[in-house]
């Protein structure tokens, strides 16, 4: 296990990583966060909480009986990668990662978020 600071710092070592946060999607509040560039990460966390809630409602309405592993949002210059925690102790949280599109490796980023989910200690 690693501390929150260590775990988030590890994520920010990824090529193109700009910001990362672990967010409670019950309240929209960021539990921990770290960023290399200045932008309103708290607002982004709160807004993406609504994205997750909408997707969870859609899955329920479609009767899919399935769960979300991650969500990728592709912008012109950035990737926003959202991974819902699969760990019992972190149920109801998601990790939100912002990456520079021109530099990021999505496969590595997804694996890194999966590792963070397994190892982070809040």
């Amino acid at each position: 296990m690693s501390t929150a600071d260590e775990a988030l710092s590890k994520i920010l070592e990824l090529d193109g990583a700009m910001a990362v946060a672990v967010v409670d999607y019950g309240s929209g509040l960021a539990l921990v966060q770290k960023q290399l560039v200045m932008f309103d990460l708290e607002l982004a966390a709160a807004a993406n909480t609504e994205v997750i809630r909408a997707k969870l409602r859609a899955i329920e309405q479609l009767g899919l009986d399935d769960s979300i592993e991650d969500i990728l949002i592709t912008l012109g210059n950035q990737y926003h990668l959202i991974r819902l925690s699969q760990r019992d102790g972190l149920r109801g949280t998601f990790t939100y990662l912002v990456l520079e599109r021109g530099r990021a490796n999505l496969a590595l980023a997804r694996r890194a978020l999966a590792t963070l989910d397994e190892t982070i200690s809040l």
Binding site: S27, G28, L29, E42, L43, A45, A46, T49
Partner: protein, 189 residues
């Protein structure tokens, strides 16, 4: 029910009631928006039936006041989450409180941001109304929370009526009664 400031005098471009309506419009699933003045009297509200929550709002505001020096500064925000409701109480200086009631899974971060942008306007409107009622009485400045962003127009679905929003955000009155008892017990400690 439209916002209904109890005072007759309205000065400046926006009244307390107007600002409470704007807060109401800016929030999703809000059940009540209520403002209390000095002494805990309601000075404006926006909700299907605000009466049941006045006591609750007074109790929370009193609890914040009773905390006194334990809360640095003159303003504070209290968020109370129960199984059925989420209650925001903003204590603005010694005079004013703004209370919001919504569902238990309210997005606390977004609700706070959308509301806090408008609280500055609320305080300004309140001070203007006070000044208009007593021109010889120059109002003092109330403290403002740091980090308040620029004003934004509400982005909600305008086709939905306020009544529909309140109906979605409303919670059973029994929960208010429970909250009131719990908070009263805290105040009485």
């Amino acid at each position: 029910m439209a916002a209904s400031p109890s005072g007759a005098a309205v000065a400046g471009p926006r009244s307390v009631g107007d600002v409470l309506e704007r807060i109401d419009d800016a929030l999703e699933n809000v059940a009540h928006v209520l403002a209390l003045g000095p002494g805990g009297e309601p000075i404006g509200s926006s909700g299907v039936d605000a009466a049941p929550i006045v006591d609750l709002a007074r109790a929370i505001a009193a609890a914040l006041s009773a905390s006194g020096p334990q809360i640095p500064g003159d303003s504070a925000r209290c968020v109370l989450n129960t199984a059925e409701s989420c209650v925001f109480v903003y204590r603005l200086g010694k005079d004013l409180s703004v209370i919001l009631v919504g569902p238990s899974d309210w997005n606390i971060a977004l609700t706070g941001r959308r509301t806090e942008q408008l609280l500055v306007e609320f305080v300004d409107a309140y001070l203007s109304e006070m000044q208009a009622r007593s021109p010889e009485n120059i109002p003092g400045e109330l403290p403002r929370r740091d980090g308040v962003g620029p004003e934004r127009e509400p982005s909600g679905n305008t086709a939905e009526t306020r009544r529909e929003k309140h109906a979605r955000g409303a919670t059973p009155h029994g929960d208010y009664a429970l909250l009131t008892r719990v908070l009263q017990a805290l105040v009485d400690l």
